[in-house]
């Protein structure tokens, strides 16, 4: 009787393999999962995920939260890559909005026009050189 463990984060797979026992810091306390555990779905707190294998040393991973899904022979740890909390998320959202507003305020068509003009001038200069070369032939 063995468990299959997948430890994944949004940015990559961290661990995938079999285990005899897995320990995870769930929201209501640390849980130890042995094969044939009842189906469980829970959020995780920042903490360690420990994976025990037969005849091998215990492997430890740090996760900063996420979701844990347990089925009798399958453990899926969906780890967050970032610290998550309502107020941190809120601050990030606020910042994203602010960036848009700030850029809107300083966005002026003048810079776009100036850029286009300089590009046009450059293209014209290039064209005149080509023409000169062609006529020399």
């Amino acid at each position: 009787m063995k468990l299959h463990v997948d430890l994944v984060s949004a940015e990559g797979q961290i661990y995938s393999g079999s285990a005899t026992m897995v320990f995870v810091a769930a929201e209501l306390g640390e849980v130890g999962i042995a094969p044939r555990h009842a189906p469980l779905l829970t959020r995780m707190r920042p903490g360690q995920v420990r994976i025990q294998q037969e005849g091998q040393e215990e492997q430890q991973f740090f996760v900063s939260g996420g979701v844990l899904e347990v089925q009798p022979h399958l453990v899926t740890v969906m780890a967050d890559t970032a610290e998550r909390a309502a107020d941190i998320d809120e601050a990030a959202a606020e910042k994203a909005k602010q960036r848009a507003e700030e850029n809107l305020a300083k966005a002026d068509d003048k810079t776009d026009i100036a850029r286009a003009q300089s590009e046009l001038a450059e293209a014209a200069a290039r064209l005149s050189i080509v023409k000169k070369l062609r006529s020399n032939r």
Binding site: A10, L41, A100
Partner: protein, 286 residues
């Protein structure tokens, strides 16, 4: 040989440009490989989360989260993913054209569209035609989910409050090195998918409440989708840049050949002229 010198300088300058485009081509090629690896790496998470949502929906058929319920569309939201830098062929323009097409479609139905953008190119493009609700730029070649959370949350909050009824993700799809396709994907409500039926009826033990859990899983699901879109767009950017720089290098090579021919002709003409002058001079003396 006055003209010859000018041509020689021109050749040198085109050669220098060619060196730069060649270097950019090679840099883009190696970055593309890394970006593709990151796309692959992001896949398991999205799959696992998708599966969990499926299980959850099956275990609780009567429980419906707003993120999963279709409702009448009065306003839609779009997340547009673009690159930060240019010199990548028509990648961004093709995508923007598709987005503009979508905007027109919704406009016909009298449905306003809210836009948030990822990447500097989309920011400067859509600023002229619409108010951008939120933006994130300068993600670099290795985007992190962390930087996207805020922007996504703006849209999720709007959806939760009911100010948008549908959320789309617009980005480029990596077909292969030569082809990148603008792609539209519906994020919310989460599209139904046909999952394999689980044999017996069973339910999870939930910690905490299922509603709360489903909420945090769905948020992560949407974030994972957007993250994947962003990473894939980086792969597209690098592929497009590689191709663009390759054709630029080839063009530079053609121009150098033309100029070299021009130079040889002028040199030949100068020599012929000099010779005829000497011959004529000698003839005059004798």
């Amino acid at each position: 040989m006055a003209g010859g010198k000018e041509v020689k300088t021109k050749i040198k300058s085109v050669e220098n440009t060619q060196k730069i485009t060649k270097a950019m081509e090679m840099v883009a090629a190696s970055k593309m490989r890394k970006a593709q690896e990151r796309v692959e790496a992001a896949r398991p998470y999205a799959q696992k989360i998708r599966r969990t949502i499926g299980h959850l929906a099956q275990a609780n058929p009567d429980f419906q989260h707003p993120f999963m319920v279709e409702r009448e569309v009065n306003r839609v939201g779009m997340i547009v993913i673009s690159t930060d830098r240019g010199l990548c062929g028509g990648l961004n323009i093709n995508l923007f054209r598709k987005v503009l097409g979508e905007l027109r479609e919704w406009d016909k139905k009298n449905v306003p569209v809210d836009i948030v953008v990822v990447g500097r190119k989309a920011a400067s493009f859509f600023r002229r035609i619409k108010d951008i609700k939120a933006e994130v730029t300068d993600l670099g070649d290795q985007p992190h989910l962390e930087d996207l959370i805020g922007t996504i949350k703006v849209m999720l909050d709007d959806y939760r409050e009911g100010s948008i009824d549908r959320l789309f993700l617009m980005g480029n799809e990596f077909v292969n090195t030569m082809t990148q396709r603008p792609d539209i994907q519906q994020l919310l409500p989460v599209p139904e998918d046909e999952d394999e039926e689980l044999p017996d009826h069973w339910d999870y033990i939930y910690e905490p409440e299922p509603a709360e859990l489903l909420e945090s899983i769905l948020v992560r699901y949407v974030e994972a989708q957007v993250y994947q879109g962003v990473v894939e767009n980086v792969a597209c950017e690098m592929a497009a840049r590689m191709v663009a720089m390759k054709s630029a290098s080839d063009n530079a090579g053609d121009i150098i050949d033309d100029l070299q021919l021009e130079y040889n002709k002028q040199r030949q003409a100068a020599i012929t002229q000099e010779l005829s002058e000497i011959v004529a001079g000698a003839a005059a003396v004798s």
